[in-house]
């Protein structure tokens, strides 16, 4: 599904990723944990192709294609999805219009017929209910005036509608109360399938009680310094990251 090999990347002249390698097979869930500033969001941004995030060397193959040869939107249409740590507010553009444009683009790429407005609205309403978001939010501006939790649920709703093959969730659990956390986790779990993989970036072990990962990686100073199973997350929660940083570097 995804093969990242010796990835070095910089942001604003500052090297952030320092030889990161990661291999993800279809159906797997990988959790990435790490202290603030270790490069977790940078990884998501580099993989999705955000401008300003520059690859120095290394490569990433996504379903056999070299990711870095593709435009941002091409990666998305190919099935790469990033749930943003800080979803963007776009006043004046309705959520419904935004979702329809995204789904249209993905479906067109997959050679599927366009959904009629009616069918799409029905689908969107169903998805909003699955993430316990009042369908009224579909009519509002994209994330405009949404609470933190509503924004995160909106991200999960987009993921459901786009049916990506690789989903990166960047701290989707941060700042959520337990109800919202469960909604998010249920959304993810419902989408788990042998053909779909997840990278779950999180700060808190708590999420991994609900989304049980196959692997847990620790990112520190832009590279993976430790890989384990879900027990590693518990250990990290208990001991913090200090011991790894001392050991790892």
């Amino acid at each position: 599904m995804l093969e990242i090999h010796e990835l070095f990347a910089k942001v604003e002249g500052k090297q952030i990723l320092n030889g990161l390698s990661l291999s993800i097979k279809p159906g797997e869930v990988h959790a990435i944990m790490g202290p603030n500033g270790s490069g977790k969001s940078t990884l998501g941004n580099v993989l999705t192709g955000r401008s300003g995030y520059e690859v120095i060397s290394g490569d990433a193959k996504f379903n056999g294609k070299n990711l870095f040869d593709l435009e941002v939107e091409e990666r998305a249409r190919d099935g790469l999805f990033l749930a943003f740590q800080y979803p963007v507010e776009i006043p004046g553009v309705s959520n419904m219009e935004f979702l329809k444009a995204s789904v249209d683009a993905r479906r067109k790429h997959l050679g599927l017929p366009d959904l009629s407005s009616f069918d799409f609205m029905k689908l969107a309403r169903e998805s909003s209910q699955k993430v316990s978001l009042d369908p009224a939010f579909l009519k509002r501006g994209v994330n405009e005036g949404f609470s933190g939790g509503e924004k995160k649920r909106n991200e999960i709703m987009q993921m459901m509608l786009l049916e990506p093959s690789l989903c990166i969730l960047d701290e989707t659990d941060s700042g959520l109360d337990i109800d919202a956390l469960q909604v998010v986790a249920a959304g993810v779990n419902a989408m788990r399938s042998p053909a779909r993989s997840f990278i779950v970036v999180t700060h808190y072990q708590r999420l991994l009680d609900y989304i049980v990962p196959d692997y847990v990686h620790v990112l520190s100073h832009g590279k993976i310094v430790r890989t384990g199973d879900k027990e590693l997350a518990k250990e990290l929660e208990a001991k913090g990251y200090g011991w790894l940083e001392e050991e790892g570097v």
Binding site: E73, R75, A76, V88, I90, G92, S102, A105
Partner: protein, 466 residues
């Protein structure tokens, strides 16, 4: 108004240019009906005199610094427009479908066939009854005339000099008009001149919605008409008016228009204006807080492309204490087009506890487009809150990335963001059908026209006191 005194202070009239001379000839050609009040004659004469003496716009005239009136040369021998017949199906295709009282003016003249019958309180000046005559006498020219002379626009004077007839809208005390009034002004594209004059008098506690919609029929002629409009509005104590004005004429039209509003005690004005550029489009809004506790909210949107021009000059006078004004304007300017937003807020010495906000945001979508944004604050009271801001920018990179990361291609993403930038202001419109119509209009504009959505680094001309 003491024009006699004023005239003495002014220098002798300069030599008039051919357009000015011709404009006065046109005034002389008008025939007033017998029913017209003497006050109209006096106003016409006084204002013709003012027009004659006014300094002609040029780069050295502060309020015309950015806007050339060269386009008026085309009308140096133009005649009065002779009202044409509307093309078949025009009204149903091009006008908004509203549950409203619709009055349609074609090249300055009322088109009875396309109009609803006038409800009580609405009449042409030429058909005024005793009450209407009295209202015209006490308000016509007085609202525009209440601005100090140095700030008066010479085209307002010209409009008065050219007023042979007009429309009076009177909303009596405590009357709430159920239906909006929808005024449509159609320019049929001949190279001719038209004048449009309205007077709106809202008595205490009255409530109404007024929509003014300007548009053109054909698009071929390089020079279609020149239209000069002036709408004077008196909002009485505790009365409320929603006023929407759409200047969506073809780009070959020249339009100079003004809206002057006096707000009495506790009056409310909710204004919204949309303009597309044309070879000359100058719109002046003069909003005067004359009674304590009055408030106004005024939003505007402008789009200009090709080599169009759109120029908004707004002036809000806080003459008395405890009034509020909130203003938000947004524009998108592309190609070689030019836009001007000059927002003046004048807070008089007595106008304590004033709350005034003004915001102007612009998107430049080509490096040959030009935007001149200039806040002009004159504050003589010390206990006021006044905030202003102006920005000229490009689309938000983060938002673009967000849309792309969902598979949306950059050109569509830009279109959506440009649309959203403008659409955000539309949400405040009171009449749902007007909002939907405008949303649709906007959507068409953005999907048919690439020049409003590309994004190249802007060249910035911001006002000196930004």
């Amino acid at each position: 108004m003491s024009d006699a005194i004023v005239n003495r202070r002014q220098s002798l009239p300069a030599v008039m240019n051919p357009f000015q001379q011709h404009a006065l000839v046109l005034a002389g050609q008008q025939v007033l009906s017998d029913g017209q009040s003497a006050i109209l004659q006096t106003l016409r004469q006084q204002c013709a005199e003012n027009f004659k003496r006014a300094t002609w716009p040029g780069r050295k005239v502060e309020h015309w610094k950015y806007t050339s009136v060269q386009a008026l040369k085309a009308y140096e021998s133009a005649g009065w427009a002779t009202p044409a017949n509307l093309p078949e199906g025009f009204c149903s295709e091009r006008l908004m479908t509203l549950n409203a009282t619709r009055l349609v003016f074609v090249d300055g003249a009322l088109d009875l066939a396309a109009s609803d019958s006038m409800p009580a309180g609405i009449s042409l000046f030429s058909e005024a009854n005793a009450l209407a005559t009295q209202l015209i006498s006490s308000h016509l020219g007085k609202i525009a005339g209440s601005v100090d002379l140095s700030r008066r626009n010479l085209f307002a004077a010209l409009n008065s000099a050219w007023t042979a007839d007009g429309l009076l809208i009177h909303v009596a005390q405590n009357v709430i008009l159920e239906k909006p009034i929808y005024l449509v002004y159609i320019n049929t594209g001949s190279k001719a001149v038209a004048n449009q004059r309205n007077l709106v008098v809202m008595e205490q506690g009255a409530n109404a919605q007024l929509i003014e919609h300007f548009l053109s029929t054909s698009a071929e002629a390089p020079d279609s008409g020149f239209v000069n409009t002036l709408t004077e509005i008196h909002i009485g104590q505790n009365a409320q008016l929603h006023h929407t004005r759409l200047n969506l004429e073809h780009e070959s039209a020249a339009h100079v228009g003004a809206v002057h509003v006096n707000l009495m005690r506790d009056a409310v004005f909710n204004g919204f204006t949309v303009a597309e550029g044309s070879k000359l489009k100058r719109l002046d809004y003069q909003l005067n807080h004359c009674g304590q506790g009055a408030s106004l909210n005024f939003d505007g949107v402008y789009l200009a492309r090709h080599d169009q021009l759109v120029d908004y000059h707004t002036c809000i006078e806080h003459r008395v204490p405890h009034c509020t004004s909130q203003q938000a304007f947004r524009g998108i300017v592309g190609d070689k087009a030019k836009a001007v937003f000059n927002g003046r807020i004048h807070i008089f010495q007595d106008a304590q506890k004033t709350l005034a906000e003004m915001n102007n945001r612009n998107l430049l979508t080509s490096d040959t487009a030009e935007i001149n944004t200039k806040p002009e604050l004159e504050i003589y009271a010390d206990d006021v809150k006044c905030a202003h801001g102006a920005t000229i920018s490009q689309l938000d990179d983060t938002a673009l990335y967000y849309l792309q990361s969902r598979g949306i291609c950059p050109s569509q993403a830009r279109m959506m963001l440009s649309f959203g930038f403008i659409n955000e202001l539309l949400s405040g419109l009171p009449v749902e059908d007007v909002k939907l119509w405008l949303e649709n209009w906007l959507r068409n504009r953005f999907s048919e026209n690439r020049s409003l959505v590309s994004d190249i680094k802007p060249r910035v001309n911001a006002g000196a006191d930004l």
